[in-house]
């Protein structure tokens, strides 16, 4: 407390001095009064009073606390001295600072990503009260909520301020000459209240606009508004969609929405006749805001009982429905958590290795400077003073490293953004005040880690001048601490490299895995469409999609074209339960299978072979699916030894099984093929993915496809054009990021270890030159000298490896969910890692060892 006040006083001497001036002025005035009362003239009284008090300035100086000033002075002096000392050895200082800058910068960048993505709440008001709601049904993987049910939940619950929902679709904007696809989010009333987001300009939707048949209204997203010239008078104007004028009522600011590509917001007509059925699949993704103080558990219990009541009221439709409630933030960022913490852990280990490395360097330096330290002690420096000076050096290095680390962090953050574009909230990652604070704290910790041991040891040394006087009878210290630090570096590197190696093995295993389909030279694209186009005549949508397929296939350079509801090789499928119409024994397993809807040409386009039966045919009209194909896993698992071609499978309608195709890893190369039912229908949704197999580079065919489709339907934009391989790579960009970064860190760690081994052995050798020379002069073989020095190094490295192995076994376990085709304790991988570390360390040790062995003994012995 008093210490704090002293420091405070010392830091703002101005205030203290003013106080003292005022106090002394009072004293002079009182004394002068007294003197005047004793009969002295006024002038003289003041003069006398002042004289008695003594020199004002001296008073001030004496009144101010000199202790703290001295302390601060010492600090400044230490820092100046440290800076001067460090500048005298530029190579040493630069290498330390650069190492630290890289370590701290990379650490800061990953921290800022974790901070922005995982730690900070979503940028909504009271965002921790926002939850995501879904409908869970036993027979289907669809989790969207039926409109009336969403409304029931909203009306009947007691724990939510409000529950709302949205769904997204594409519409065509025909305001200008060129038709433009825009992404629309259709929201229920109260959606913006739940999120507490208000339009930036204009107004929200009115009650009336949520009624069926009212004049259409939309809100523009700020991005679309800016793209269209940011017209301040935009609210009130109209755009044309599907030939109809739609009034723009306002502009919504950009906010992190589940689908960041949303261009416009539209009101859901709650009483629309087509939205009144409780049966069938749902539409909405639910978002709710909990009342203050309500826990997730209470909300779950509440909606569970609400849904139980609905199940009694509507047993046919609501019996098998359950409610799932998750924190909204979790659904946004949950998928990135493991990758980010993994990378953060790895980069922290790297920083720790760097610290250890630098500590060893500083330690060697401190030993080299023993003489200087001895002189200081001899001149009366206290241990604290010497320790402070050595710590100041580490502090200056740490601060310089942190300062340089900031630009490194900025660059590294951009690298992370580039490596994993699918990370959520990535645009919120900035190097802000919190990141800078973190970086500074990291630098302080680093300085203490690096500097403490050298400082304490340095200050302990130098008990007498003679010890480091460099006499002929010098006792060679063993430098056990330096070697211990080398061992720690080796151990940490082994653990880091083991993690990286396992991830590399995983990506290698994945690249070798038999996919069951050929993703190369396939182009993907979307053609705009939506439910209800062409006046609700779905048959015309089917015709349109088939015509599009036919037009694409007819192009030169195109081998095949197909549609699918979901891209192959990308995680996220839909399980569904089927029944065999012809009947099965009741005891057999339920027919749960992955359900995908594709055009008959899909198998040819993706190179999935037909194993038996024949290919399904394209249904000509809107009647939907009539024929299905199953994969080999499905046939083998559920119908071993039974021919099922020609039988009928039913999810909703009975469809004929026409053939069996080969297994494909539809759900991603890291997932084994699962039993799959392919429903043959090219137009299951109005906007399916088009897959086009080309002769050459798929992107080179894009132009021709665009031109042809424009001829076919000039007002239908084509978008999302990308090679399938890139779509798959994007879906796996997080695992790619993990692998790339961990490998990078491991390689850096190995570099640091080799620098550490080299530095420590060089130093040890430099101190033992005379000893080695003496050995050689007495007839020792140079080979023996090299062997002994290498032996010393490898003993330490070996112990480090043993420690690293234990660390690795502890830490790689947390990786197991990210691995494929390799176990977390894979002996070959771990052995390989250890072999690499040993070879690297031995190589680094060879140079100083050889240099020591090839000295001229007599010259060294005559040196002094």
């Amino acid at each position: 407390m008093t210490w704090m006040r002293r420091l405070w006083n010392a830091l703002r001497p101005g205030k203290v001095e003013r106080d003292i001036d005022r106090e002394l002025a009072f004293h002079v005035a009182e004394r002068a009064d007294e003197l005047r009362a004793g009969g002295v003239s006024a002038d003289e009284a003041v003069r006398d009073a002042r004289r008695q008090l003594g020199n004002f300035v001296v008073q001030r100086e004496r009144a101010r606390d000199v202790n703290v000033s001295a302390w601060l002075d010492a600090l400044l002096r230490n820092i100046r001295l440290a800076a001067r000392t460090l500048i005298r050895t530029p190579a040493f200082s630069a290498s330390v600072i650069v190492t630290l800058a890289l370590g701290i910068g990379a650490n800061g960048a990953v921290f800022s990503a974790i901070d922005a993505i995982l730690l900070r709440p979503l940028p909504f008001h009271d965002a921790d009260r926002l939850v995501r709601l879904s409908e869970i049904r036993t027979a289907s993987a669809f989790t969207n909520i039926v409109p009336v049910r969403l409304d029931d939940w909203n009306r009947l619950n007691t724990t939510f301020e409000a529950i709302s929902g949205y769904f997204t679709d594409d519409v065509v904007d025909t305001t200008s000459d060129l038709p433009e696809r825009i992404r629309r989010a259709v929201v229920t009333p109260g959606f913006f209240d739940v999120l507490r987001i208000a339009p930036e300009r204009g107004r929200r939707f009115t009650e009336a606009e949520h009624q069926f048949g009212s004049a259409p209204a939309i809100l523009l997203s700020e991005r679309l508004w800016r793209a269209r010239g940011a017209d301040p008078a935009a609210p009130g104007t109209t755009i044309r969609s599907a030939g109809m004028p739609v009034t723009i009522v306002g502009v919504m600011p950009m906010f992190p929405f589940a689908d960041p590509s949303v261009d416009v917001w539209a009101p859901m007509p709650v009483n629309a006749p087509y939205a009144q059925s409780r049966a069938g699949g749902g539409w909405f993704t639910g978002i709710g805001r909990l009342k203050p103080g309500v826990t997730l558990e209470q909300a779950r219990e509440d909606l569970k009982s609400v849904q139980a009541r609905l199940a009694m009221q509507f047993p046919d439709t609501d019996r098998d429905v359950a409610v799932r409630i998750e924190p909204l933030k979790e659904t946004v960022v949950g998928g990135a958590r493991r990758s980010l913490w993994l990378v953060f852990g790895a980069v922290s280990v790297l920083l720790l290795i760097a610290c250890t490395n630098i500590a060893a360097l500083l330690l060697s330096r401190a030993t080299q400077r023993e003489h200087e330290v001895s002189v200081r002690f001899a001149l009366g420096a206290s241990r604290t003073a010497v320790c402070g000076q050595l710590l100041a050096e580490a502090g200056v290095l740490g601060l310089a490293g942190a300062a340089l680390g900031v630009p490194v962090a900025l660059a590294a953050a951009r690298v992370i953004q580039g490596l994993a574009p699918d990370l959520p909230r990535l645009d919120e990652v900035t190097i802000g005040a919190r990141s800078l604070l973190y970086t500074t704290a990291a630098a302080a910790v680093v300085a203490i880690l690096c500097g403490l041991m050298p400082a304490v040891r340095g200050a302990r040394g130098g008990k007498s001048l003679s010890r480091s006087g460099g006499g002929g009878a010098q006792v060679v210290p063993r430098h056990s601490v330096q070697w211990l630090l080398v061992g720690v570096q080796v151990a940490l590197s082994v653990a880091l490299a083991a993690g990286a190696a396992l991830l590399l093995r995983t990506s290698d295993a994945l690249s070798r895995v038999e996919q069951g389909f050929d993703a190369s030279r396939v182009l993907t694209l979307h053609v705009t469409g939506r439910f209800g186009e062409d006046g609700g005549d779905y048959g015309r949508v089917v015709q349109r999609i088939n015509a599009t397929l036919d037009a694409i296939v007819a192009l030169p350079g195109v081998r095949a074209a197909a549609t699918t509801t979901m891209l192959p090789g990308i995680p996220g499928g839909q399980q569904q339960e089927f029944h065999l119409v012809e009947g099965r024994a009741g005891m057999e397993a339920r027919l749960i299978a992955e359900s995908r809807t594709v055009s008959p040409s899909y198998f040819d386009t993706m190179g999935i072979p037909l194993l038996s039966g024949e290919l399904c045919r394209r249904p000509g009209d809107a009647s939907g699916v009539t024929e299905v194909m199953v994969n080999r896993s499905f046939a083998d698992r559920y119908f071993p030894g039974r021919s099922i071609v020609g039988l009928h499978l039913a999810a909703s309608t009975p469809d004929r099984i026409t053939g069996i195709v080969g297994d494909a890893r539809e759900l991603g190369s890291d997932r084994d093929p699962v039993p799959t039912v392919y429903s043959c229908f090219s137009a299951a949704i109005p906007v399916p993915w088009f897959l086009v197999r080309t002769d050459g580079d798929p992107l080179s065919a894009a132009g021709a496809i665009r031109v042809r489709l424009k001829q076919l339907e000039p007002f239908r934009p084509v978008y999302d054009i990308a090679p399938l391989e890139r779509q798959i790579a994007d879906a796996y960009s997080q695992s790619h990021m993990r692998t790339v970064l961990l490998t990078l860190f491991a390689v850096t760690a190995l570099g640091l270890v080799s620098a550490g081994v080299y530095g420590t052995l060089s130093y040890a050798v430099s101190l033992r030159r005379r000893e080695v020379a003496l050995h050689l002069a007495l007839g020792a073989l140079r080979r023996t000298v090299v062997q002994r020095l290498l032996g010393t190094t490898l003993r330490v490295v070996g112990m480090g490896c043993a420690g690293g192995l234990i660390l690795a076994l502890m830490f790689t376990h947390s990786l197991s969910a990210m691995l494929y085709g390799v176990s977390p304790s894979d002996p070959a991988t771990l052995a390989g890692v250890i072999a690499i570390v040993v070879v690297v360390a031995a190589t680094a040790a060879l140079i100083p060892a050889a240099r020591a062995a090839f000295v001229q003994p007599m010259r060294v012995l005559r040196e002094d």
Partner: protein, 122 residues
Amino acid sequence: MKVRWTGRRGNVGTQKNDILQGTLVLLILKTLHSNGRLHGYAITSHIHRVSSDLLRVEEGSLYPALHRMEQHGWLRSEWGITEKNREARFYALTARGRRELAQEEASWAKLTEGVGRVLRFV
């Protein structure tokens, strides 16, 4: 640090004699203990008066001593208005200051007793 004593007829400054380092602190602590809240000038006046003009605090030492004592946590200070309507800094003892006073009084008693015994020794 320094308390001057003045001879019976002597004027301040003519017979200065630095005596008894450390007694200033004791005197200040005791003064504040018996008077409560005082400003610097009142402290000097009190010591002067109570010692029947024998002791006079050298003003140049008073304020540094007060500040040091405040930093030790023996005193606390605040700005106030005197009866003459002047702004002055008032000092008061803290709990720590009272403990310090007890210690200093004890050691002063020991010192005077020791000195007395030496002087009495024939």
